[in-house]
């Protein structure tokens, strides 16, 4: 049977009224948890998981995956409105999205994020449908050596993203590595920097760090000049993006789609890798990198698209091999097990209706999300009319609730608070917190990839450096550096100057 036949059968399943309804419930609920600061896809899935026990396997997976991509969609909203990244993948969206919101262009940012998300997700679903099995084979071939090379490459990309000077950026990256080292080491399970606290055994909770560094520090910076902060009153025409904004976004969306899908194939924190890379790319190829971080629409369009394109790609190892790449997809798996569908390499063969029903419902769900989100933009934007004093209280309470529910421990509230203060001090004196956060995310992946690589090659660094994949990446790097040098030699030094005083 051809894929097209199977897909049309999938649509027959997904279009059944009750599945259509479940899909709507899923994306709606996903949007809600995505929009609430501190709650992410994981919390959304956990809360509705017991409900799915009463459904059939198709309905359950359709609803739960709806929550998953709905929440990824909604995650950008808090980044843009409040500078609170709901999950790692929406860190970059905070940078230009929030700046746009403060300029009264939140509507534009939200609309472009929604459209970009829709395009990115749709393209990646097509990719999932057409190429899932061969891509899954490719993904499996990415061993620790290749992973290490990719991670290091991404880290170098950060130096393009950062606006502070190199020593400061480097200090932030190494500080991030130190923070990532807290907890048990990945190979021998030796406790590091835990000071006997069992709460630190798993390391410091990333979401608490992110909300502290970005969200709480932003509140701290803003409330101290509360007298001068005016509520934003967006005019109606600002709700809709201007033609020039759309024109500027479209190429970024296209590039974001490609980057997102490719990085989705990398195991681990692919959402972070793809969004940062997309941002760096947009910044590099724009004529005016200094304007990034101050409200460039491309800085929202590219990463948001990449994020949602990654989401589709992240379903590939899940569906083809039963390998979840992030905690949220692991939860999708357990829902399948409850319904007697064993996730694993045999799943597509044994339960084609689940796979194709899911694909079809993802098309439908993404269209629903677009229709659902565009009218909501008006409501979200009007939230900004609330005077910031009230908004600050509101956000603080939401952050406490969100951070507490992650692991039901007040320890994480302390972590959020500490990193709020740290973020405040760092930002006051022009240290960049984005590379710090990225290094925290990537730190333990880099360490375990590095140590696994050495185990695999018996400590042979030469073999590490000469693996064909590493050579390809090194080649790419040399090319990038060469281009930069040439540009420099030609005298276009403007881009590399420190931020204006």
């Amino acid at each position: 049977m051809s894929s097209l036949d199977l897909l049309s059968q999938g649509f027959a399943i997904a279009l059944q009224p009750h599945n259509l309804f479940l899909c709507f419930v899923g994306v709606f609920w996903g949007t809600v948890v995505g929009v609430l600061p501190g709650l992410g896809p994981l919390a959304g899935l956990t809360l509705l998981l017991p409900l799915t026990f009463k459904l059939d396997a198709n309905g359950a997976i359709i609803m739960l995956s709806g929550i998953f991509y709905g929440a990824m969609y909604g995650g950008s909203t808090t980044s843009i409105l409040m500078r609170i990244p709901g999950e790692a993948a929406s860190i970059v969206t905070c940078l230009d999205g929030y700046a746009m919101a403060r300029q009264g262009r939140a509507g534009t940012a939200l609309v472009v994020a929604a459209v970009g998300s829709f395009i990115g997700a749709s393209v990646s679903i097509v990719g999932l449908m057409l190429f899932a099995p061969p891509l899954a084979e490719l993904m499996v071939r990415i061993g620790p050596v290749e992973e290490l090379a990719l991670l290091l490459l991404t880290l170098m990309v950060v130096s393009f993203v950062s606006q502070s000077r190199l020593p400061k950026t480097a200090a932030m990256i190494f500080l991030g590595f130190l923070i990532a080292s807290v907890g048990l080491d990945p190979v021998e399970a030796v406790a590091r920097y835990t000071f006997g606290l069992i709460e630190l055994t798993d390391g410091i909770n990333f979401v608490a760090i992110a909300i502290g560094l970005f969200g709480i520090s932003e509140i701290l910076l803003t409330i101290e000049r509360i007298a001068t902060v005016q509520p934003i009153r967006p005019a109606f025409r600002d709700l809709l993006p201007r033609w020039s904004d759309l024109k500027a976004s479209m190429p970024a969306i296209m590039r974001g789609t490609g980057i997102g899908f490719l990085f989705g194939l990398v195991p681990g924190p692919s959402g972070v890798l793809s969004t940062f890379t997309s941002y760096a790319l947009e910044k590099r190829i724009s004529g005016d990198p200094d304007s990034f971080g101050k409200g460039r629409i491309e800085g929202v369009a590219g990463p948001e698209t990449a994020n949602n394109a990654t989401t589709g790609a992240a379903m590939i190892p899940l569906m083809v091999l039963g390998i979840p790449s992030i905690p949220a997809t692991a939860l999708l798996l357990s829902a399948l097990i409850i319904h007697n569908v064993q996730p694993g390499t045999l799943m597509i063969q044994q339960h084609p209706e689940v796979f194709w029903g899911l694909i079809a419902s993802m098309y439908i769900g993404n269209a629903m999300l677009l229709v659902l989100n565009l009218p909501l933009v008006g409501i979200f934007v009007n939230l900004l009319r609330i005077p910031y004093a009230y908004l600050a209280v509101l956000i603080t309470v939401f952050c406490v609730i969100g951070v507490y529910t992650l692991r039901s421990t007040t320890f994480d509230i302390m972590v959020m608070l500490a990193f709020g203060a740290i973020g405040y001090a760092l930002r006051k004196f022009e240290y960049d917190v984005a590379p710090l956060l990225l290094a925290v995310v990537l730190g333990d992946r880099i360490e375990s990839a590095f140590r696994q690589s050495l185990i695999v090659t018996s400590g042979d660094y030469w073999r590490l450096a000469t693996s064909s994949f590493v050579q390809a990446i090194a080649g790419a790097l040399v090319l990038i550096l060469a281009v930069r040098l040439v540009i420099r030699a030609l005298g276009y030094r403007k881009h590399d100057l420190p931020p204006p005083e």
Binding site: L45, T46, L49, P50, M139, V140, R141, I142, G143, P144, L184, P186, V187, E188, A189, V190, A191, R192, T194, G196, I198, E199, T201, D202, P267, P317, L321, G322, I323, P324, P327, A330, L331, S334, A335, I337, I338, H339, N340, Q342, P343, G344, T345, L346, M347, Q349, R407, S408, T409, S448, Q452, I455, V456
Partner: protein, 319 residues
């Protein structure tokens, strides 16, 4: 004075109202069940399924709470600190009960709990890829003897049951293999498919679900299992390697005797119920039934055995 006495009496009467009810009424309010792992994991799914079956048996609602973190230690510590009144129980798996206390300094030990019943138990199977040169356990041992230290195996993490099982196997077979720990079962599976490791121990349900990509070599159980009649045990190869991933209903030490027997009976009734049986079959969990003293003895034996393996391998953390 008189007035004071009356007040004292009134306070006394009021206190009586709030005093903990006699255990005979147990349970007269909802019971909390702590699960030391996140929602949606194996432990959680089984805990919720058992909680559902326990509710009719106890006539009270059971609230499942996930206290995830530190390989189950955070939730288990909290259970150990709870009041031993039967209103806080836990679904605690093998790791936090029998390996973590050996791996690091903890606020609880195997003696901190009363053991109510075992809820599930699933033997580990050593798997390799279908195109692996190893067709039997003997092939693997022979090759490992020829190339000491050059063959790499995976696990779902350092100090986990699959890791301990491999350590025990390696020691008893007198071979030398290199460990490449993963982050969870899926990560180990990816390493195996990508060729980083030759294989790893995993539960039986995984073998069925990935039958086209996975070749089971031998099962770490006393006897062959009815689901895998052709799969030999380690024992048949002359190696006494037997490892299960299990979990059970556990309460803080010092339950009143009648509360304890009520819980034990309720657990037995729940496990015998048709609904629970059906759910266990779906989850590919072989039925188990071991309550009270028998379960406690089993936990202690596992605790001692795993402790020895951890000591021999020098896995205990210095901090």
């Amino acid at each position: 004075m008189k007035v004071d006495r009356r007040i004292a009496l009134a306070i006394g009467a009021a206190l009586m109202l709030f005093a903990p009810p006699a255990a005979a009424d147990y349970p007269d309010r909802p019971i909390t069940m702590i699960v030391p792992f996140g929602a949606g994991g194996t432990t959680d799914v089984i805990a919720r399924s058992l909680a559902g079956a326990l509710e009719p048996a106890l006539g009270q609602k059971i609230v499942v709470i996930n206290k995830d973190g530190a390989a189950g230690v955070i939730g288990t510590t909290e259970l150990g600190r709870s009041k031993a009144d039967g209103y806080t129980i836990g679904m605690i798996p093998v790791g936090p009960l029998t390996t973590q206390p050996h791996l690091r300094e903890l606020a609880y030990s195997v003696d901190s709990f009363d053991y109510i019943c075992q809820a599930y138990s699933n033997p580990q199977v050593l798997i390799v890829t279908t195109d692996s040169p190893y067709k039997t356990l003997k092939d693997l041992i022979a090759d490992a003897k020829a190339k000491p230290g050059q063959i790499r195996y995976g696990s779902s993490g350092p100090g986990t049951i699959p890791h301990l099982a491999m350590l025990d196997f390696v020691r008893k077979a007198g071979i030398d293999l290199t460990h490449v720990p993963g982050k969870g079962e899926a990560d180990a599976f990816r390493s195996m498919l990508g060729g980083t490791v030759i294989g790893f121990p995993v539960h039986t349900g995984f073998v069925t679900a990935n039958a086209d990509r996975v070749r089971p070599l031998a099962i770490m159980a006393a006897q062959r299992r009815s689901e895998f009649p052709d799969l030999p045990t380690f024992k048949e190869a002359g190696l006494d390697v037997s490892f299960d991933v299990w979990g059970g209903l556990v309460a803080p030490k010092g339950l009143p005797a009648d509360v304890r027997s009520k819980l034990e009976k309720a657990c037995a009734a729940a496990q015998a119920s048709a609904v629970y049986r059906e759910q266990q079959t779906k989850l590919k969990m072989p039925p188990v039934s071991s309550t009270g003293a028998a379960f406690a003895a089993f936990v202690r034996a596992e605790f001692a055995r795993n402790g020895n393996i951890i000591k021999d391998a020098g896995l205990r953390s210095k901090q």
